[in-house]
């Protein structure tokens, strides 16, 4: 499981994460909602070791991401899909996907590339397997991004607003893939603005507000709360999101 305990993160004098506690168990899909600037990306970047914590502790299957020796194990267990894809521009789709399996997991290149093609096929991209990122549309790039993460056979997928750079049609392509992954029991931490979609795939919804995790509820309760006894901040956020 992913365990986040009392995590604090500041940039200069601005505290961006202010004592976050969160558990993500195997098989769960936890969606993180929150307005822009509330610290969602920073939380993901703390989980994958891109940001140094200023306080607290994050472990992935008991490997502490703040300890250099354990970080590599933690990183083998989780894989990130980025908002802006972050593909390697000088490599084809297949090469993008096969790089880490070859270099990190030491899988023979031939096999890694065959696996990459199978993955691309599963997201409807077999015809674009040898294209470079610059030759792909945004939605296609993000599907490559997802395959690149899946190729590591991670226990946990970290997804940071992976559809927010895509137009609606491409968004639905990508979300369909996530729905299938959720259905197959993939554990996911899913930062998103797609509230209705989050409702359909999440086991839990957490709500970040100004660096604090103000709500952590099973999906049904979260949306029930929207109806009446809701915290005003969530009701306000949800109604704003729905209007957009």
């Amino acid at each position: 499981m992913i365990s986040v305990r009392g995590v604090r993160k500041a940039f200069g004098s601005a505290t961006v994460l202010d004592g976050i506690d969160l558990d993500v168990h195997s098989g769960e899909v936890v969606s993180i909602l929150g307005s822009s600037g509330s610290g969602k990306s920073t939380l993901i970047r703390c989980m994958n070791g891109l940001e140094k914590l200023d306080g607290g502790r994050i472990t992935i299957d008991d490997f502490d991401v703040s300890r250099p020796k354990e970080l590599s194990e933690a990183r083998k267990r989780s894989a990130t899909v980025f908002q802006l894809f972050n593909l390697y521009p000088h490599m084809t789709a297949v090469q993008n996907i096969a790089l880490a399996p070859v270099e990190v997991l030491k899988i023979p290149r031939k096999q890694a590339e065959a696996d990459a093609r199978t993955l691309l096929d599963s997201v409807g991209l077999s015809a674009r397997a040898d294209a470079f990122p610059a030759q792909l549309s945004g939605g296609q790039r993000q599907r490559v991004g997802i395959c690149r993460a899946l190729a590591m056979k991670p226990r946990y997928l970290l997804l940071d607003e992976i559809t927010s750079a895509l137009d609606p049609e491409m968004t639905s392509d990508v979300l369909a893939i996530l729905a299938k992954l959720a259905h197959d029991g993939t554990t996911m931490v899913f930062v998103t603005h797609e509230i209705e979609f989050a409702r359909t795939i999440s086991s839990r919804i957490v709500f970040l507000d100004k660096g604090q995790l103000v709500v952590d509820l099973p999906t049904a309760e979260f949306f029930a709360a929207d109806g009446g006894m809701a915290k005003p901040r969530i009701a306000q956020f949800l109604s704003k999101m729905r209007k957009d």
Binding site: G49, R75, T80, L87, H90, A134
Partner: protein
Amino acid sequence: MRYTAFTSYDIVLLAQGLGVSLALFLATTIIGLFIGSLWAVIRFYRIPVLAQIVAVVAEVLKNSPVLVQLFLVFFGLPAFAKINVTPVEAAVITLSGNTAAFVYVIAVSAIESIGRDQIEAARVFGLSRWQILRRIIAPQAMAFAIGPLTGLLVNQLQVTSLISVIGVVDLTKIGNILNLRTLKPFIVWAVVGGLYYVMAKLVAFGGARLEKRLRAHTAWKGL
């Protein structure tokens, strides 16, 4: 009476001078590329002390005249360090160092031109710094640097002509010798200049071809 006519042996002399210039150019290019890239890697890893030393050395080398550096090595080393250097050794040391300084500058900016986001992705997927350097940074930095490097090498080829002043018998020195004997400066220097021109064109041509290969492979036109 002076013998001022050209002889067929002059062609042999020119060929020898050309060979010396070419050999010096190739040797100092290889050494300079190696050392300059090594310096850039030292900077990439932010190795304490070494990285600062490298930055200062490169700064000094690229901001002082090559001729002054050459005199410093050729006359200075024997005088101060009691190390005797032959003209060829002095030429190799000076030109290699000078090339290295400019290769360093080009390599550093090529490395810095690569987007942070893809490097972060590679880190998150567990690649080591060395793997990132080798698989992500080097291939892209090479494609980026090949243009400026070609320009640099064409220039360094011309710079080799300076070494004739300390007695290396390169193409320019041969030009000097032939000129003094034949008293036909216009012909002699036109031929010598033509030979430098052809060499420079070959370097530029090779660089352009390599660049095309590296870029075709990456197909970045859309970025």
